[in-house]
Symmetry: C2
């Protein structure tokens, strides 16, 4: 029965970090003697590790705030269930605001931001304006700001391997911010440079996002966006030909092709599995005006993803290829949560929260034998999905049958048409060396320092616990 | 300038827990040498305390989720500012779902709940249905469920002092759940018992919520709701007369009257400062259809609260009176955040988040000299306020000038008329003994065990760090 809810959840707990698992087992045990949970203080203390991580795995759910996480948890696991991301020991809230173009240096605050400045904030430690990719603010959208070095590039420059994985076009804002600098996120391929004229290679610039990801020699690039790579560079050949011929990338375009790559010995890997974005796990269920889409018995249906790999499969292969003695930095994005929320598609959004969580499970599996790995799971910005009472008069609503066997309703109402980002803080959770730094309230620019490896605090000694 | 945002926030940090403060100072210092924040691992480890607390102060913001906290922070402190609640070292997410009436024992899940079952969950460790006050579920709203002992009553029974403070009627659901058992939250006074006939004292029941709070001999009761106490009991006299004559309560009705109470030596204290709810800090600014209420230069204005004390003043007095060698349990609620969100009143909601935070500052002041005090700050359920892009086409919007000097817009759109609770997890933050137990994902029924004093974990030794 549902009255003693935690007992049920702790019983289904699959091992994450050892201390958390032990707590869960203990909770289940004491639960059987009449309820109650044991103190977790000592277990949490054991998880605090001030060392610099050898590896960093940063997992991003685009637009994945507490509200869509709760909706996805209810649907997939039940209200008393838990995702892997729920079991990470350290949790905080992260602010996501950006700036607006202006005369500077005191740019106005943008309380709701897009993925470009938010991903740039953790990638560079600097705030910037909507649409801008790891480049500072300026007086107008088309005027370039200052290029900032990204944390992925810092890791690369220190001799570590790097990876960049997304379910969107790999040239979309979040993966772009990890390893390119450009004034407009739209400048994804060499044919898309209308708003970034100075950045064209023909004009002496760094080129489009597609070209920069290749020029920056990221070891593993996996996602969508083949159409961008088929565009001709200013020099003539396609970006894909340039990647293969000038930069030794091995190109794959299917899950089977990706499976066939065994190591990085043959060169870096460029996997592009769709012309545009990859297909979400579930087919769409688009919210409609009340009484809304779906209903009390509606479940989501799996989409046909053809030969595309799942996010977990891409993550597993990326980790396999990047694993080495010196360490690596890997960014993984479940991108379609955001895009399906924009479309008021509750099934699409829920399914790709699960994609994120499955990718996290892969990362946690690796960490079990590589505890010097920092794993951070967070989001770039909050979004529009609200869990509302059944029968809500929200503008666009949908109802689904959850894993509990009960109906859950959601609404999308931020705009008259479509659905927008929102400005709430987002959840940040972590495990591993320096993971304690995500607790409390942090900003996305603070996360940069955690990913980079903090300056050690001289005030507390910093010994292990 | 706003680019290196954290430096600004950490500079304004007013001391909370020592280690957090030290980290802030260190951050500001390293910031002046080119940016970067120090590792907080050791500081967090020092804050882990597995002892059982001598005192518990539980602060509730009704309907106070991350979204309204972010809006209030932006308005009051700026996007890079911080409330006291932002500086607590341990943070988690808390699930808030309840149950629906039914044949049982497997009651359907309610994914959006009201304040009665959510407050009952942390008060008793049990889930229940909408409208029910620390009493289990049943087949219909008017059929009583099983009474559950509350954590406040457990502390009282162990010889500790207790307090119950709210800015709503003290008989409203959240303060009611702390120390009464009844099947319908509407049964606030003896004249309100239509849905709780069996609970009437004339029928051998425990009586209305107003009567139960008095019968349960809470040492300090402060809030609104005088009208309920002026109702006649089944035995004839008003509840207020009964409280004074039979239970030795001293009644006060103004801030000055409350100031005049120096100790509990003269008996327990019943302070009722308004016929109904207390007045929120700010006068209302009600969101309207686009282009919305307020504007890019609009600020909230202080309401005239007459002789009513602030929540911080009530909290300070309650702590002064309750402080004793054996310890106390105090629940403090900032109730009007929820009620003003229902009214789409952004100023009312923001102001009473600040009321909550000011009350927390009082509690933290006390904890500075009484570190064996557990302080928990959380909410009962999520709500409707969304921070949206300026110019949003949300159903009802408002725009305010924030502390940054920039315009922030919010929208209320969950319902065609009015605004509803939502089903997201809420933030839970804590400092003090056992505070580490709020990290990760917990349920409101888990919080019960933390407030009660966990079963000590035998698996980890539980030594101090």
């Amino acid at each position: 029965m549902k009255l003693q809810s935690r007992a049920r959840r702790t019983l289904v707990s699959a091992g994450v970090a050892a201390a958390v698992l032990v707590s869960a087992v203990a909770a289940a045990a004491t639960g059987s003697f009449g309820g109650g949970t044991p103190d977790r203080s000592a277990g949490l203390a054991k998880q605090i590790d001030p060392d610099k991580p050898r590896n960093v795995i940063l997992l991003i759910g685009d637009g994945t705030d507490e509200s869509i996480i709760t909706a996805a948890r209810n649907y997939e696991k039940g209200a008393d269930g838990a995702f892997a991301l729920d079991r990470l020991p350290f949790v905080g809230d992260m602010t996501t605001h950006g700036l607006k173009v202006g005369p500077g240096p005191d740019y106005p605050i943008a309380y709701v931001s897009d993925s470009a400045p938010t991903a740039s904030a953790w990638s560079t430690g600097h705030k910037t304006v909507d649409g801008r990719v790891s480049q500072g603010p300026s007086t107008a959208d088309t005027v370039p700001g200052q290029d900032f070095r990204t944390v992925l590039m810092d890791w690369r420059d220190s001799g570590r391997r790097t990876g960049n994985v997304s379910t969107s076009e790999i040239t979309d804002a979040t993966p772009a911010a990890a390893a390119s600098n450009v004034n407009a996120r739209a400048c994804q391929g060499p044919a898309d440079m209308a708003n970034c004229v100075a950045a064209r290679k023909a004009n002496g610039g760094k080129g489009s996002i597609a070209e920069q990801l290749v020029d920056n020699e990221i070891d593993v690039i996996l996602g969508g966006g083949l159409n961008r790579y088929n565009q001709a560079t200013d020099a003539g050949p396609s970006v894909l030909d340039y990647a293969e011929d000038a930069k030794d990338y091995r190109f794959v375009s299917s899950a089977a092709g990706l499976d066939g790559i065994g190591s990085l010995g043959g060169g870096p890997v460029l996997g592009l599995f769709a012309p545009g974005n990859l297909t979400p796990r579930y087919s769409p269920l688009i919210a409609t005006p009340p009484p809304g889409a779906g209903g009390p018995t509606a479940r989501c249906s799996l989409a046909n993803r053809g030969t595309q790999p799942s996010l977990a499969a891409m993550t597993e292969k990326a980790i396999d290829l990047l694993d080495n003695r010196r360490g690596f930095f890997l960014q993984v994005e479940s991108a379609m949560v955001d895009k399906q929320e924009h479309a008021a598609d509750i099934c699409g959004a829920i399914g790709d929260v699960s994609e994120l969580d499955d990718a996290l499970e892969v990362a946690l599996d690796y960490r079990r034998h590589n505890p010097d790995t920092l794993i951070v799971v967070t989001s770039d910005h909050a979004h529009s999905t609200q869990i509302v009472p059944n029968g809500s008069s929200g503008r666009q609503t949908a109802t689904l049958l959850t894993a509990d066997g009960d109906p859950m309703s959601v609404a999308y109402s931020t705009q008259a048409v479509g659905s927008s980002h929102t400005g709430s803080t987002v959840r940040v959770a972590a495990v591993g060396p320096q993971a304690a730094n995500v607790t409390g309230l942090i900003d996305q620019t603070d996360l940069y320092w955690t990913l980079k490896g903090h300056k050690p605090s001289k005030l507390h000694g910093g010994g292990k616990h």
